[in-house]
Amino acid sequence: MSVTLDRAVEAGCDSRPILRERGQREVFCGLTGIVWMHRKIQDAFFLVVGSRTCAHLLQSAAGVMIFAEPRFATAILDERDLAGLADAQEELDRNVTRLLERRPDIKLLFLVGSCPSEVIKLDLNRAAQRLDRRFNGVRVLNYSGSGIETTFTQGEDACLAALVPELAQSDEAQLLVVGALADVVEDQFMRLFGAMGIERLAFLPARRAGGMPVVGQGTRFLLAQPFLAETGRLLEARGAQHLPAPFPLGAEGTTLWLRAAAEAFGVTPERFRSATAAGEARAQQALAAPRAKLTGRSVFFFPDSQLEVPMARFLTRECGMQAIEIGTPYLHRQHLAAEMPLLPPEALISEGQDVEKQLDRCHAARPDLVVCGLGLANPLEAQGITTKWSIELVFTPVQGYDQAADLASLFARPFARRDVLRVPLAERPIRASGQSPSAIGR
C-alpha cells in the first residue's frame, strides 16, 4: 500500500502536509445515508437495487430495525437477474409497483444504485425516467450509494445532487441552506436568519417532496455539511452562489457560518450582533461544563463522515483539546478552505485510510480519546483506549448555538463514564486475531 507524504503547497493559505493513504478503508458506503435521509424527507422511499449484503448493511446500520416498517428496502438481485434470464428492468417495474401499491403515501422514490448494480451497469436512470412517467404523483429519481463510488456521508451528497436538477427555476434573491439538518436545528436557524431580516430562506432537502426549494441566479447558499461536493457543484451550475464559511459546529463555527450569510445579504454588523449575541453567549455558557472534561486531553480521529475537520477545529479551539491526527475519508479543499487555517499546525491530517497503519499510529500516540467507527470502538476500548463512536455525530443534532454543548458532551461522556465506573477493564488477554482461547467454551 503506497503512502505518500505530500508536502506540496495546497491552493489557498494553508500549506500543511497531508498524509494520503490507500489501504483497507474501514468505512461505511453511501447507502448508509438512507438511514437519516428517509427520516428527513418524510414522504420519500429509498429502494436500493443491490445484493443481500446491501440489505444486511442497512439493517445493521439502522441499529437493527428501528422502525417496524421503514421507508427503505432492497430489491435483491439474484442469479436470474445476472444471467439475463430475467429482464432487470421488468423486475424493477414489478417490485416498484408492489411497493407503491403498499405505500400510497410515498411521493418521492429514489432508486439507489449499489456496488453490484454499478458493476453490471444496470441503468437506473432509464428505469427512474420510465417509472416516473408510469406513476402519477410519484417522482422517481435515482442516485448511487455504492461503496465503489461513495463513502458514508457522500450518500447524502449523491441523494441531494439527484434533487438539484428537479428544483424549479427562480432568480429571486434567497438564502438556501444545503444539507440535512434536524428539524429542530432548522427551526433555530430560521429564527436567527429571521432576526437578521433574511426572510427568503429555504432548506435543501425540504421535509416533504412537494416542498423542495427553487434555485437560480438570485440564490446564495450555505453548506450546512462539509460532504456536499457534488450538490454544491450542481447548484453553482444552476446559477447559485456558494458562500464560503466554516461549518456551524460550536459557537464560533456557528457565528462565522451565520456571518457569511449576513454579509452576503447586507445585514449590518449591529443587527447581526443583536440577532446572534444571545445564542452565542448561551452556547459559551453551556460549553463550560463539558469543556472542563475535555481541556488538555488529546484526540485522534479515524476517517468516517468528513465531519472530522470541523469537529477537530471545534474541539481544539473551543474545548481546549489537542488534535493528534485528523483522519478524513476525503478532504474537499475548497469547501474546507475556511476551516483548514483554524486547525492547530501540529495536527496530522490524513486523507483516505490504511486501517492497520493508522491503528499502529494510534497505539503509538496513546491519545486520550479516539473518534472512530463501530467496528473499531470496542476493540480499542478493550485495550483501555477511550473512544467516541463517530456515527452518533452524524445522527445527533449538533449544529448551531444551542447544540454546541450537546456536541461537546458527546465527546465528554466517554470520559465521564470512565470516571464513574469502578469495574476493572477486561481481564481477558487481548489478541489481534480473536478472543483468548481460554475464554471460549469454559
Binding site: A68, I76, D78
Partner: protein, 521 residues
C-alpha cells in the same frame, strides 16, 4: 429480484466470517468493495467482541476497477499474512467481487505463502449466511481432517461441531453440552469451529463420533466426516427436557455407555413448573413459531409437549432444512411456512391470531404491532441475544431458560384470574400493566422506539380495519367493555371480522356473543 424490507440472513461471506471469527490462528482475506467492512460491527457491537474479527478486506473502489484489482488482492493477502501470521488463511469474494471475477483462490494459490490457503466460493446471488458458514466449515474440515485409528478399548470421546461466533446462545449452549457429556462419561476431543485452531482440525479424526449442535452449520461437515472418517453423528439437538433426555440416550448409545442412572437422577425445573397449578392457564395457548429450522422444530416440541401450548403456526427461513420443518409441522396438523419474506411471515402471524409468538427479532416487531407477547428463540441475532448472564437454550438449564422466557411475557396465571374477577376495581383498569413487568411494562421487553404516528397510520394494517359503514351499537360497546382488557382487543377484532363475514352493519350484544360462539374452540 426480490423486494426485501428485512433479511433473516446476511450474505454467505458473513457466514464465512462467523467461522473465521470463531477460530484461532485463521485469517480471512475477502475481496470486497469499500463499505463491506460494516460486517465488523456485527461482531464488535452485537456480540461485544473485544477484538476485530480476523478479516482483511481489499476495499476496492471505482478507480481500482479500471486498474488491477487482482494485484490489490495479492497485496492485501501478503500484508495480512505478514501482519497476523496465521496458521492458515481463507480467501474469497463478496457479492461485488464475485462479479469482477478476479479468482481469489487462483491468485492465492500462486502467492507462494508458506501456509495452507483455503478458497471458499460462496455464490452470493444464490446462497445466504448459514449456507456460507456450513460450506466454509466443510471446506476447512475437508482440508485438515484425516482418518485416525482409535486404539481399541480407549475411553469414548467425541467432537462438538457447530458453535460459531455471532451464534444464537452458542456461547452458553456449549457450556451445558460440555457438562452433559462429562456426566455421561464422554470426553471432548475437539470443539469446532469455536475456539479451534486449524491444527486442531487435523485431530478431528481422533474421536468416536460427532455431536452436531447446529445442523445448519455443521451438518454438511458431519456428513462428510461420517462418510470419510467413519464417525457417526448425533441427530438429536438437546433443546427442551425431552430432547435433552433423547440426546443423552443417543450419546450414551454412540459411546457404548449406560446412561440410565444419569437419566433417572436428572432433573430440570421445567416439568414441575409446568405441572404446578399456576401453569394451568398455559393450556392451549395459541403459539406461532418461526426461526431457523433447528430452533423452530425444537420449540414446537417444547411448546406442545412440555408447556401444553397449541402450535398454530410453524415455519422457517432456512430453505436448506425445510424438509425437517415440514415434517414437524405435519405432526401438529399444520402446513409449514417456508419463507424468507418478512411480509409473508407477518401476514401468516396475523392470520393465525396467536396468543404468543416464538420467533426472531423480526417477529418481535410483528408481535408488538399486533399486540401479542413474543419471545425470541432464534437468530438473526440482536445485542439482547448476548445477555451478560448465562442463558443457554440447550440442556436442562436451557429448558429452565425456555420456561422463563416463554412464560414471562404472558400474564401470570393467578394474576390473570384475579384481574378477571376484579376487573372493575380501580387498580385493574385497562391500562394497568401486569405487575411483574413493573411500571414501564411496554418499555421493558421492547426498548426500540415506536414508529412515528405518521408511519404507523400509513402502513396498511394487517388487523382488519373497521369498514366505514360498520358501527358498534351502544349496548354492544358497553358489553365489550366488560370483557377483561387483555382479551378485549382480540374479542373486538374477532367480532368485527365475524360481522364483516356475515355482512352485519351494526354490532350489537348479540353479534358479540354470536362471534364468541363462532370462534370458540
Amino acid at each position: 429480484m426480490q423486494l426485501t424490507l428485512w433479511t433473516y440472513e446476511g450474505p454467505p461471506h458473513v457466514g464465512a466470517m462467523r467461522i473465521a471469527a470463531a477460530m484461532e490462528g485463521l485469517h480471512y482475506v475477502l475481496h470486497a468493495p469499500q463499505g463491506d467492512t460494516y460486517a465488523d460491527l456485527l461482531f464488535t457491537m452485537i456480540e461485544r467482541r473485544n477484538s476485530r474479527p480476523p478479516v482483511t478486506y481489499t476495499t476496492f473502489q471505482a478507480r481500482d476497477l479500471g486498474g488491477d484489482t487482482a494485484e490489490l488482492f495479492k497485496t492485501s493477502l501478503r500484508d495480512a499474512y505478514e501482519r497476523f501470521q496465521p496458521e492458515a488463511m481463507l480467501v474469497g469474494a463478496s457479492c461485488t467481487a464475485e462479479l469482477i471475477q478476479d479468482d481469489p483462490g487462483g491468485l492465492a494459490a500462486t502467492s507462494g505463502l508458506p501456509i495452507p490457503i483455503i478458497a471458499v466460493e460462496l455464490p452470493a446471488y444464490q446462497k445466504k449466511e448459514n449456507w456460507g458458514a456450513a460450506e466454509t466449515l466443510y471446506q476447512l474440515i475437508r482440508r485438515f481432517a484425516v482418518k485416525l485409528e482409535r486404539a481399541p478399548g480407549s475411553p469414548p470421546r467425541c467432537n462438538i461441531l457447530g458453535p460459531t461466533a455471532l451464534g444464537f446462545r452458542h456461547r452458553d449452549d456449549i457450556k451445558e453440552v460440555r457438562a452433559l457429556l462429562a456426566r455421561i462419561g464422554v470426553a471432548v476431543n475437539v470443539m469446532a469451529p469455536l475456539g479451534a485452531r486449524p491444527s486442531d482440525l487435523a485431530r478431528l479424526g481422533d474421536a468416536d463420533f460427532n455431536v452436531v449442535l447446529y445442523p445448519e452449520i455443521a451438518g454438511q461437515a458431519a456428513a462428510w466426516m461420517q462418510r470419510n472418517l467413519g464417525q457417526p453423528q448425533t441427530r438429536c439437538v438437546p433443546i427442551g427436557v425431552g430432547a435433552t433426555r433423547d440426546f443423552i440416550a443417543e450419546v450414551a448409545g454412540l459411546a457404548g455407555l449406560d446412561a440410565s442412572a444419569l437419566l433417572a437422577e436428572e432433573t430440570s425445573r421445567l416439568p414441575w413448573y409446568s405441572r404446578s397449578v399456576d401453569s394451568t392457564y398455559l393450556t392451549g395457548k395459541r403459539v406461532f413459531i418461526f426461526g431457523d429450522a433447528t430452533h423452530a422444530v425444537a420449540a414446537a416440541r417444547v411448546a406442545s409437549e412440555e408447556l401444553g401450548f397449541q402450535v398454530v403456526g410453524l415455519g422457517t427461513y432456512s430453505r436448506e432444512q425445510a424438509r425437517d420443518v415440514r415434517e414437524a409441522a405435519k405432526a401438529h396438523g399444520l402446513e409449514a411456512l417456508i419463507s424468507d419474506d418478512y411480509l409473508e411471515v407477518e401476514a401468516a402471524i396475523a392470520a393465525a391470531q396467536p396468543e404468543l409468538v416464538l420467533g426472531t427479532q423480526m417477529e418481535r416487531h410483528v408481535a408488538k404491532r399486533l399486540g401479542v407477547p413474543c419471545a425470541v428463540i432464534s437468530a438473526p441475532v440482536h445485542v439482547q441475544d448476548f445477555p451478560a448472564r448465562n442463558s443457554p437454550q440447550m440442556g436442562f438449564e436451557g429448558a429452565n431458560v425456555l420456561f422463563d422466557t416463554w412464560v414471562h411475557p404472558l400474564m401470570m396465571g393467578l394474576e390473570e384470574h384475579l384481574i378477571g374477577m376484579f376487573r372493575e376495581d380501580f387498580e385493574f383498569h385497562p391500562e394497568a400493566a401486569p405487575s411483574h413487568l413493573g411500571h414501564a411494562a411496554t418499555a421493558i421487553p421492547e426498548r426500540v422506539p415506536e414508529p412515528a404516528p405518521a408511519e404507523l397510520s400509513s402502513v396498511p394494517s394487517l388487523v382488519v380495519e373497521l369498514p366505514a359503514q360498520m358501527v358498534w351499537s351502544a349496548d354492544g360497546e358497553k358489553e365489550l367493555k366488560k370483557i377483561p382488557f387483555f382479551v378485549r382487543g382480540k374479542a373486538k377484532r374477532n367480532t368485527e371480522r365475524f360481522a364483516e363475514m356475515n355482512g352485519i352493519r351494526t354490532i350489537t350484544v348479540e353479534t358479540l356473543y354470536d362471534a364468541k360462539a363462532h370462534f370458540s374452540r
